[in-house]
């Protein structure tokens, strides 16, 4: 038995190192299912998974939907623009209505931090956080860790640099939590306006100079510069950001030869990564996407096996 006993996945803070290892180990076996001719196993037959997304998403939504379908669960999508949320219903009321139709799992993305927690406290179906505000995106961090483990063979002791807009990044927060739990040495790198104050308390180092992390990092995880936040004047200009924190072929020469370059997507080509680097041989960006399906299959499988919350 896997020893799994959790019904929700809200934040990696709630998981132990053993839990993370169980998910990564389970995902390894699920990866094979997606390479078959018949990409489907009957493990979750009869279960219903609802995707409740109130923010735009392609990768995460498609990935969750494929993961559920490949396990034979039934899936349905609720998009906010076409739902009763646009008529002024609260998300909790809406989720309670969905619960009344006997669904087993709700995958939720919301622009406000904490919404998945509110739903998990109020509802019987399992809740998976697919990104809430700037707070957490646990399945992204899990698939990042899975990819690192697959590429390098371990996580413990690796030097991982997370580069860019840490302040607004739920991906960074979840990765900091997961990677430090797994024993990696994490350094955050970005302009001081985009690094949250006091983040060193979480066991990470901080630098404002890209050269500091280029030389000896095993993994460079670049984040998307959230251009929609540019009105808020965190940066003098995008050009200046690219000059200091954008990764291009020239800068990559300083890095280890086999450094692993990651990005949670969507990539702003020419900003955080030059096109050559994004498509280069060190980049594992598309493998991250492939692994995302396997990791989400593992999460759905483990969570839905737990009957009571």
């Amino acid at each position: 038995m896997s020893g799994w006993n959790k019904g929700d996945l809200l934040d990696l803070k709630d998981l132990t190192r053993k839990d993370i290892e169980t998910i990564l180990e389970t995902a390894k076996s699920f990866k094979e299912v997606s390479t078959r001719d018949v990409k489907k196993v009957p493990a979750l037959r009869g279960k219903t998974v609802v995707m409740l997304f109130s923010e735009p998403s392609t990768r995460t939504r498609v990935s969750f939907e494929l993961a559920a379908k490949r396990l034979s669960a039934d899936t349905l999508n609720v998009s906010v623009s076409a739902s009763s949320l646009s008529k002024g219903e609260s998300i909790l009321d809406m989720a309670k209505n969905i619960e009344a139709m006997h669904v087993d799992m709700i995958v939720v993305r919301h622009k406000s931090s904490g919404v998945p927690k509110v739903l998990a406290d109020a509802l019987t179906p399992g809740i998976i956080n697919a990104g809430d505000g700037c707070r957490a995106h646990p399945t992204q961090a899990l698939l990042d860790m899975f990819t690192i483990k697959e590429k390098i063979g371990k996580i413990e002791g690796l030097k991982v640099a997370i580069i860019g807009d840490i302040l607004h990044s739920r991906v960074a927060r979840s990765n900091i939590c997961g990677l430090t739990k797994m024993g990696a040495k994490v350094t955050l790198c970005g302009p001081s306006t985009l690094i949250p104050a006091g983040v060193e308390d979480q066991g990470v180092k901080v630098t404002h100079n890209l050269d500091d992390v280029l030389k000896d990092s095993d993994v460079l995880m670049c984040l998307r510069l959230q251009k929609e936040r540019q009105q808020e004047k965190y940066l003098p200009s995008v050009r200046e950001y690219v000059k200091h924190f954008g990764l291009n072929k020239e800068k990559l020469k300083m890095a280890k030869k086999d450094v692993v370059i990651m990005h949670p997507g969507p990539v702003n080509r020419g900003i955080e990564l030059s096109a050559e680097v994004a498509d280069g041989e060190n980049s594992v960006i598309l493998e991250q996407v492939t692994n995302g399906v396997a990791v989400r299959m593992a999460v759905l499988y483990l969570l839905l096996g737990k009957k009571e919350k």
Partner: protein
């Protein structure tokens, strides 16, 4: 102290598997389009050994696959925490092949039912046959073995434990135990 009884030892297991290897070749008139698929974990080990014996007899290897049937179980949502999943390794096309499915103990037949579903997702074999080391009875489904090492009458509250060197790091044996004993 205990009511354990040893039903097979290392030598009887070896002879049984060797006989099964011969019978498989006899029934299929050689190793033409023959493939072995072992069910994790015990069946996979036995399949490897039978593959080795077939090589000794015929001089050539037959393809071997390993199947994890966990995702096809009919009691997945009945058990508490989910069982651990391991990889399925079948790197050949099953379509048109004669498959010999191999497991250690044949009991209710539900594992075999799951394995048949899994195999058919991988292709359309021309035949599927079943080889087991122990047939202990108590079938709940219309399934029977084509090749059996030993038929053992058991009561429902007994466990049949197959100890294999590759897994347990102890000498091969099959032991009949009262349920719940280690």
């Amino acid at each position: 102290m205990t009511n354990d009884s040893k039903i097979m030892d290392k030598e009887t297991i070896r002879r049984s598997l060797m006989r099964i290897a011969h019978e498989i070749l006899e029934k299929n008139k050689g190793k033409e389009s023959l493939c072995l698929v072992g069910i994790r974990t015990g069946g996979a080990i036995l399949a490897k050994r039978i593959q080795k014996y077939i090589k000794q007899i015929e001089g050539d290897e037959v393809p071997l696959g390993i199947l994890d049937i966990t995702l096809y179980r009919d009691d997945l949502t009945l058990v508490g925490a989910q069982p651990i999943i391991r990889e399925t390794l079948i790197d050949f096309d099953l379509t048109g092949k004669k498959i010999v499915l191999i497991d250690d103990v044949l009991f209710t037949g539900r594992t075999i039912r799951a394995a048949l579903d899994a195999l058919i997702d991988f292709g359309r074999p021309s035949q599927i046959q079943l080889a087991v080391l122990i047939d202990r009875g108590h079938r709940e489904l219309p399934i029977r073995a084509d090749f059996a090492g030993k038929n053992i009458p058991t009561s429902i509250d007994q466990d049949v434990q197959v100890v294999l060197k590759e897994i347990d790091d102890k000498e091969d044996q099959v032991v009949l135990k009262k349920r719940g004993q280690k």
